[in-house]
């Protein structure tokens, strides 16, 4: 674990004025609390990724391979030719600064290298040196510099202080997307084995066991069975989920975070309750222990790794012979599914266009990918009045909704979760304009930075989000942040405890699970957290 996290007052004393020294002359500082531990040899070897070794970012010597510079420059060259985005973003930035104060890491740290423009400039400076005449001739005068070990370390520092949230790209006049720069930057670092442990280990787990946490099949089933017991305790009704069942109509894939830790687990219970409710209405759905992870930390590693991990979904859908896939509440999982999956792992010709077995709605928007978001599925059910529910069971929750970066800026899923929340709850308040929907602020822990050792970084990056929550917490008494992302459910509770004590975090389907009226249920006195329902405190 990191050393003590600074106190709120210290953390909030942020100086946004850049230092006196130019950015090339200001060395990057890697300090405890602000960086993630390095990837170890084992996971990289499992994945047959290069240069797996034990190294420590804090130390001077990173044990780089002899020809590391050649490897990186070749890698850059290759990617400049493979990605129009990279080539264009290297060439057209005018440094207007529109992106500068849009980044949650810059807002929370004041470090100028967290301005998206400068983060890109870290890479662009090397590009200039290698590819432009002026850069070759005039060097530093025109913002060009050689790739050195210092530069490489700076890349590592700042490409792991970006959550690929794309907020800057909304404001950029040319749509320059720092996520793209960071993704490719990390890809280059991975050529030298310079990943972080909190990404590499989940990736190798996911590769082998199907999920980030390395939950083996029997254990995965045990965990879900445990939720079945919990749900029974709360509702008196026993759900009957199936695993790896061939011939099911739908395969359900959710981030393993929902299966692993609170408060995601309550969301998982919500799924179970919803599926059980719909069973009698014709829902035929199965979980998979092999494709037991919707999330994709390959996305934080390289395009190739993204593809390698994501392949499981279609392979499993094919093996089980399902018609289509429903995906659970997860942020970056949905960026990958929406913008990469079909291209990488498709075409999914063995599947059919998703059609709700209950309402008959055809999800034309997923006609090719054949994979729909569970909030799309549930919103459609609600719209057709297919669900009986009692929204007063969520009366203890004064809610706001946090748009996760990827569902909002990576797929445009803004209304569906809100529609469900408003149907299921009486007390809902939006956070201020400019902090929600397509301008939403990241939780500060996305893209694999949700480790235990970089708490200061996470709390700094999460400050803008927390601050907007604080606003509605003070104004409307908001005590719960709803979200559709597993990383959020893991990252936001400590963030809230730090900046806005007294606010908890819930998945949207947890609220659904609370409110649904099941056939044969007992009198409900508690919610899925075993907290008394509103008005039931004395029961």
């Amino acid at each position: 674990m990191a050393d003590e996290v600074p106190k709120v007052e210290e953390m909030a004393a942020i100086n946004h004025t850049p230092p006196k020294t130019g950015w090339m002359d200001t060395p990057a500082v890697i300090r405890p609390g602000m960086y993630c531990y390095s990837a170890k040899a084992k996971p990289l070897n499992i994945l047959s990724m290069p240069y797996g070794r034990d190294w420590d970012p804090i130390e001077e010597d990173w044990h780089l391979p002899e020809n590391w510079m050649e490897i990186v420059l070749e890698g850059l060259h290759e990617r400049l030719h493979k990605f129009r985005s990279l080539q264009l973003f290297m060439d057209v930035c005018v440094r207007c600064g529109a992106c500068a104060d849009k980044c949650h890491f810059f807002i929370g740290s004041g470090d100028p290298k967290n301005m998206p423009v400068l983060r890109a400039e870290l890479l662009r400076s090397v590009y200039r040196k290698e590819y432009t005449l002026a850069g070759k001739l005039l060097g530093k005068m025109v913002g060009a510099r050689k790739l050195t070990e210092t530069v490489l370390k700076e890349w590592w520092t700042y490409f792991f202080q970006c959550t690929e949230c794309r907020r800057c790209s909304v404001f950029c006049p040319y749509g320059i997307d720092t996520a793209e720069i960071t993704i490719i930057g990390r890809e280059l670092l991975n050529l030298l084995g310079l990943n972080i442990d909190w990404i590499a280990t989940p990736v190798s787990n996911c590769y082998r066991t199907g999920n980030h946490l390395g939950i083996q099949p029997h254990a995965f089933k045990d965990m879900i069975d445990f939720f079945v017991d919990e749900v029974e305790d709360v509702t008196g009704v026993r759900c009957n989920p199936s695993f790896n069942r061939k011939g099911a109509e739908i395969l359900f894939i959710t981030p393993s975070g929902d299966v692993f830790a609170d408060p995601g687990t309550y969301t998982a219970m919500g799924y179970l309750i919803l599926f059980h409710y719909l069973e009698s209405m014709g829902l035929d759905i199965t979980w998979s222990t092999y494709a037991s992870e919707g999330g994709n930390f390959g996305f934080f590693t390289s395009h190739e790794m993204m593809k390698r991990l994501n392949a499981k979904m279609y392979m499993e859908a094919k093996r089980l012979g399902v018609k289509y896939i429903i995906g659970g509440e997860c942020g970056h999982m949905w960026r990958v599914i929406h913008q990469y999956m079909d291209t990488m792992n498709g075409p999914a010709d063995h599947l059919e266009v998703p059609k709700s077995p209950i309402t008959g709605t055809v999800f034309q928007n997923a006609a090719s990918t054949k994979m729909i978001h569970i909030t799309e599925f549930t919103a459609d059910l609600l719209r057709h009045n297919k669900l009986k529910f009692d929204k007063t069971r969520n009366d203890n929750y004064n809610l706001t909704f946090h748009d996760s970066c990827n569902p909002s800026r990576g797929m445009g899923l803004l209304e569906e979760p809100r529609y469900i929340i408003k149907e299921m709850c009486n007390h809902f308040y939006e956070m201020p304009e400019g902090t929600i929907r397509e301008q939403t602020f990241c939780c500060g822990s996305g893209s694999g930075l949700n480790a235990g050792e970089d708490l200061e970084l996470r709390f700094r990056g999460g400050m803008p989000r927390a601050n907007a929550v604080k606003h509605v917490h003070e104004k409307h008494g908001v005590n719960t942040v709803a979200c559709v992302c597993a990383i959020d459910r893991a990252a936001l509770p400590p963030l809230m405890d730090y900046w806005v004590p007294g606010v908890q975090v819930a998945g949207v389907h947890e609220l659904v699970g609370n409110a649904l009226i099941l056939d044969g249920e007992k009198e409900r006195t508690e919610d899925l957290r075993f907290e008394p329902l509103a008005g039931m405190e004395d029961e």
Binding site: I14, P18, S48, L80, K82, F83, R84, S85, Q87, L88, D91, V94, C96, G97, A98, A100, D101, P112, L118, M141, V142, G143, R166, V170, F171, P173, G175, I176, D177, E180, P217, H218, F243, Y290, H303, R308, A311, M315, I337, D342, T343, M344, N345, P347, Q364, N365, A367, S368, E376, R383, R409, M411, G412, L413, E415, E416, G434, E438, P464, N467
Partner: protein
Amino acid sequence: MNVWISLIASLIVIGGLVVGAAGVAGLAQYSHTPELLVLLGVVVPLLAFIAFIVGVILQVVKWGRRPVPFPIATVAGQGKSLPWIKASYFDAPYTKAGVVGRMALEVLTFRSLFRNTKMELHDGPKLAYGWQMWLWVFALAFHYAFLTVFIRHFRFFTEDGSVVFQGVMFLEHLDGFLQLGLPHVLISGFVLLGAATMLLLRRLTNAQVRYVSLIQDYFPLLLIISIAASGILMRHVIKVDIVAVKALIMSMLNFDFVGIGEKALAIGWMFYLHIFLVSVLLAYFPMSKLMHMGGIFLSPTRNLLCNSREFRHVNPWNYPVKVHTYEHYEDEFRERMIEAGLPVEKTLEETQEAAAPEEKE
């Protein structure tokens, strides 16, 4: 590198260009050397124009040849999903027309810049974000003024009385609606000068922007300021023979070089300074950030549809990767799966055979 050095270096370069060009033109005028003036007023601009055209084409072709492997549009509104949820037509475009609209809004109205906010940190801590329109205002004023000035100049490149010429003169008439003095003050030149100056001041006063600014940022601004200033001076203060200018340009366009030296001598030195600076801008343009003019149209986060689950986007360099198949997975965990009552493809007896080979998908 100290941030001010970039500005000072740019100033020195611009100063050198201005003094050099004005000096050469003045000297040529004084010593009756029309060859130098033809060099400055005809040869250099022609070469610069060729450099501009070739450079822009090369740059756009370079970008165009790079594939767009993934549909990475920045979705800035509700995506198209269920029929009763209103999708954002321009911010999450799902039709070609929507994309065209999004691009048009971006190119013509600088929509993303219009969204700009400014973050303020107050005690508490309390973060506040206010709408910040200045960058948008300056940028829009700058670009539209530049466009107007650019079009206005076609009066020098079109035959008197032609349709285009008349259109250009009408624009000039609108531009000079204030009817101040003679020749009429044309607003666009002053707006261009003012907006470029404001953009420069913003760059110098905003600590964050100043921190990231390079010579490449100051140089074009100072160059354009010099061009606008020399143009205004030429029109109102240090006058040149505008009829002679037109005559020179028309003979250049018609490749009629008889007596061109005389025409060149009749104009006045300020014109040569102006056109030389414009030539520098033209030649510099393709290898600079100014290429955002062409680049914006190719930006994958703006010009792609947001319907990537409905229609498959193909990656030309998609290649097979090593995956961990279900067979491998079951081979590793079969016993435990059977114990846990999970279905398996092969029973323990069946697995006496060799393990499944690695597969590629």
